[in-house]
């Protein structure tokens, strides 16, 4: 089956936030040197003020902006699931093509035998393989984005990721379950 890419996304580079995220623990010290400890939230919170999202300049400040961000993240997570399943389908289709190469080979007693090589799969420069590679890059980028979004520890955005993934899985896997049965049977 398709395993979630979670296990591979372990390279963390240090977060470099310059804005203070919402944090409901009161900071007793007004000393600037303590700001560095609270730059990135390390526990889940619900809030929509001053939420920085992935890119500098992309900051959520109102409920309306959070709603928009929720929808965008939801759709991104849905798209990610769809992309995974689309790639599986494409891979399955392109692996149906089987190439037979026959070549004469000297056999015992001076006879000539035909040795047949069967190759299943894609050539390096074939369109399906190049397409898979491009889709893979897109998939890796989106999976890292989703991880970084979850890393904001913002409750609304995390729920958007989980709900989008679940909905995407439900919708796209529905079709896949149908397709898998037909193709598995035929081969």
């Amino acid at each position: 089956g398709h395993s979630h890419h979670m296990g591979m996304n372990m390279d963390m580079s240090g977060g470099n936030n310059s804005t203070m995220p919402p944090h409901h623990h009161p900071t007793t010290s007004s000393d600037h040197s303590h700001d560095h400890m609270m730059m990135m939230p390390m526990t889940f919170y619900f809030g929509f003020k001053n939420v920085e999202l992935l890119f500098s300049g992309l900051v959520i400040n109102t409920a309306g902006e959070m709603a928009g961000a929720f929808v965008a993240v939801f759709l991104l997570a849905m798209f990610y699931e769809g992309l995974k399943i689309a790639r599986e389908g494409l891979l399955r289709k392109s692996q149906v093509s089987i190439r037979y190469n026959s070549m004469p080979v000297p056999g015992p007693n001076g006879t000539i035998l035909m040795e047949t090589h069967k190759t299943v799969g894609q050539q390096m420069l074939s369109f399906p393989h190049l397409l898979q590679t491009v889709l893979h890059i897109i998939q890796v980028v989106i999976s890292y984005f989703l991880m970084l979004i979850f890393m904001t520890y913002n409750g609304y955005l995390c729920i958007a990721v989980a709900a989008g993934a679940g909905t995407g899985y439900f919708l796209f896997s529905w079709k896949k379950a149908v397709v898998v049965d037909i193709t598995e049977h035929c081969h």
Partner: protein, 143 residues
């Protein structure tokens, strides 16, 4: 935020209330994280098994039947003969989706736990993944 692994008995994990200050608390937290990792591996196996059961619920036609059907009605090529038990198939698929949500959430929780850079917690995740894999994956071929 420390950006290197440290051994420490103090950590705040995921939620504000999950604050650890003592060796006992740390041992308990490592155990919880370990069980979370075991759960993660089990969910993956559970999804695969549900998928298998969903496929079993579909009426799987023989190639002869497929050819006959293709001759008869060429209009509905996209619909599948879900004639045996559509409700059970739907429930299996819905169950898989719920498991998928759980898998995504637990997976991210484990990532965030590792991000605490606490070495004990990290060991808990790694050991839990190993134990979970060991216990759950044999169940994959046991249908």
């Amino acid at each position: 935020m420390a950006m290197h692994f440290i051994f420490s008995d103090e950590v705040v994990l995921l939620f504000d209330f999950w604050s650890v200050h003592s060796p006992t608390g740390m041992a308990l937290s490592v155990l919880v994280i370990l069980l979370l990792a075991v759960l993660y591996e089990s969910i993956k196996v559970g999804k695969a098994r549900l998928l298998h059961r969903a496929l079993m619920n579909l009426s799987i036609p023989t190639s002869q039947q497929l050819i006959e059907e293709a001759d008869q009605d060429s209009s509905s090529s996209d619909t599948l003969p879900v004639s045996r038990s559509p409700l059970r198939w739907f429930l299996c698929h819905f169950g898989q989706s719920l498991l998928h949500v759980a898998q995504v959430v637990v997976g991210y929780f484990m990532m965030l736990a590792v991000m605490s850079y606490n070495t004990w917690i990290f060991f808990g995740v790694v050991l839990g993944s190993g134990v979970g894999y060991y216990l759950a994956y044999p169940l994959l071929s046991m249908t």
